[in-house]
């Protein structure tokens, strides 16, 4: 049996029946990582010893499914979530040797659920990028075509899950960083409602947009992880107090989509590739066949989403990244005096994309430009939020392709930041409005590249997302639970 092909839920079932042991699972995955990751570069840190140790300890927990729903299940963590005692780099030279003295809340909850943290996954530096080419530790390769990008910024997480290096992983999504790589790598990626999963210990990129979420090969695994990591956290002032739904139950019982009203903002999809449009139209057919009513809506504010995002996110980032000054931790390049040390440390410690965004954000917040850029962008954000509110007054969900294209070639867009940014056009609106969205695989291009689409729901309606996602998965099972052959 190829253990690496199994998802979290399936592994959990086998573990509980004692058909496999946690140690066997971990060893199988470590072996798979050793064999395959050289070509993908998904892992920045593999915690071999720690994983084996956790596996031994989880033996005792595997019967208690209620208390330890993930006992013995290996999980990969995007290297933007801090892990106690385990190097956390955020994909940056700046934090190359940073060993955090605490766990992110999401990580802590995984551990408390019995999960085994097998290692830390590659990403665009400080989660800034759509291709994973901005990692200080080399690009990640798409397991479906090693010449292509896996998407970003959670590219390592997506590639690792798609290639069977881990059954499930955590990513983070600021403007599509879970969903776009999930689409590029043919897996499931959920960006929960802003406030649903604690951001404590998530190295901040853009604080009003960042959310942590699961990346998995099937919908049930996403629900399993989501249930563990979500919920109120007093350490995060932006954490919602609402109790999360039992989405596993929802997934279990989802059958038809009868009566579900789904909206498509067709006008905003014109820029998508033909192949993406084609696969998306098939999604619409499938959803109709499941009983959903799919209708057209207008969401004209979406055409401003990229512009809004590329002001707000860099502005917040310019402030969030000020702490990397070479004083307390991380890289320091000593200069003649303090100020010189700041300039050298930050000038050389950050990569090109990060510097570009810090510059952009600093500009947008600086005296004389705040109103014209930052404040204006936040006003237009209101327009986007209103478009969602209006549509959700009449509809249950919105669907769109996740990305206008399938995975592009490594090096293809990296010289032109604006073109790269426009790749996020379908994912950004959900972050700006805070609404939950889940990307699901919906087939392949003729070259064999995965294509994805996303459901977006009203605030805190993850249960509706999961119900629709599970129904779609049942109808189109062939796109799920796939492991790329490499």
């Amino acid at each position: 049996m190829d253990l690496y092909r199994l998802g979290a839920w399936q592994l959990r079932e086998l573990l509980k029946k004692r058909e496999v042991s946690p140690l066997e699972v971990v060893k199988a995955l470590l072996q798979r990582i050793k064999e395959k990751d050289g070509r993908i570069n998904a892992f920045l840190t593999v915690d071999e010893e720690g994983a084996l140790e956790q596996a031994r300890r989880s033996e005792a927990l595997i019967q208690d499914v209620e208390q330890y729903p993930l006992a013995g299940v290996p999980v990969g963590i995007k290297d933007v979530l801090v892990t106690w005692g385990l190097r956390t780099t955020a994909g940056s030279r700046m934090l190359e040797n940073f060993v955090p003295p605490y766990d992110a809340t999401a990580v802590k909850r995984l551990k408390e659920a019995g999960a085994i943290i097998i290692g830390k996954l590659n990403m665009d530096e400080f989660a800034m990028g759509s291709s994973n080419e901005n990692s200080a530790f080399g690009p990640v390769h798409n397991p479906y075509d090693l010449q292509r990008v896996p998407g970003g910024s959670s590219g390592g997480s997506a590639a690792a899950v798609a290639a069977g290096l881990v059954p499930v992983a955590l990513g983070s999504d600021t403007g599509g960083s879970i969903r776009q790589p999930a689409a590029f790598c043919g897996i499931v990626g959920l960006k929960p409602t802003y406030g649903r999963v604690s951001r404590f210990g998530l190295i901040a990129f853009a604080s009003s947009l960042d959310q942590v979420g699961p990346m998995t090969r099937n919908v049930r695994d996403a629900a399993l992880l989501y249930r563990v990591i979500s919920g109120h956290d007093p350490a995060d002032s932006t954490s919602a107090q609402l109790p999360p739904h039992d989405v596993l139950d929802v997934v279990e019982n989802s059958q038809s989509l009868k009566g579900l009203k789904i909206a498509v903002p067709w006008k905003e999809l014109e820029g998508a590739d033909e192949i993406v449009k084609d696969r998306f139209e098939r999604v619409v057919e499938t959803l109709r066949s499941l009983g959903a009513e799919v209708g057209e809506v207008e969401m004209p504010s979406f055409r401003y989403a990229v512009a809004v995002y590329y002001i707000i996110a860099p502005s917040e980032a310019s402030s969030n990244l000020a702490r990397y000054d070479g004083v307390k931790y991380g890289l320091r390049i000593e200069g003649e005096d303090l100020v010189d040390t700041y300039f050298k440390t930050r000038g050389r410690g950050f990569g090109r994309e990060v510097k570009r965004r810090i510059m952009l954000g600093t500009y947008a917040l600086s005296a004389g430009y705040y109103d014209a850029y930052y404040l204006k962008a936040q006003r237009v954000r209101t327009l986007i939020k209103q478009d969602f509110e209006n549509v959700f007054a009449e509809h249950d969900l919105v669907i769109m392709p996740t990305s206008p294209t399938p995975a592009f070639k490594i090096g293809e867009k990296i010289q032109d930041p604006l073109t790269m940014y426009l790749n996020d056009i379908f994912t950004i609106p959900a972050n700006l409005a805070g609404v939950p969205a889940i990307s699901l695989p919906c087939g392949f291009s003729p070259e064999g590249l995965p294509v994805g689409f996303q459901f977006m729901g009203p605030l805190f309606k993850e249960d509706v997302l999961f119900a629709a996602a599970a129904a779609y998965e049942k109808a189109r099972g062939e796109y799920f639970n796939r492991v790329a052959e490499i």
Partner: protein
């Protein structure tokens, strides 16, 4: 939008404490100019009378009780310090 001037780029870099090589400055003049040019479309959105959405979460900020916890302490906090001495972080001379 046209390119940013070299002075503008340098002024922002100073605020952000980023050392830039000459080549980077030239690239940034062009790239930032292009991005800001694209962003100019926000002016057509007609949102000037709307309230800004700084956050999407509609709830008041939660507050903490004033109860002390065990701090992490100097050893833990200094563990990753590039330079330290006698329980302090050490930084190069600060010119005042």
């Amino acid at each position: 939008m046209k390119e940013l001037s070299r002075e503008e780029v340098l002024k922002i870099a100073r605020l952000a404490r980023l050392e830039l090589e000459d080549k980077e400055i030239e690239t940034l003049r062009r790239e930032l100019g292009a991005i800001l040019g694209y962003v100019a479309r926000l002016g057509e959105a007609g949102a000037d009378n709307l309230d800004p959405t700084f956050q999407t979460l509609a709830k008041p900020t939660p507050m903490r009780e004033d109860e002390p916890d065990e701090p992490l302490g100097a050893d833990g906090v200094l563990a990753n310090a590039p330079r330290k001495k006698d329980g302090f972080f050490v930084v190069p001379k600060v010119i005042e």
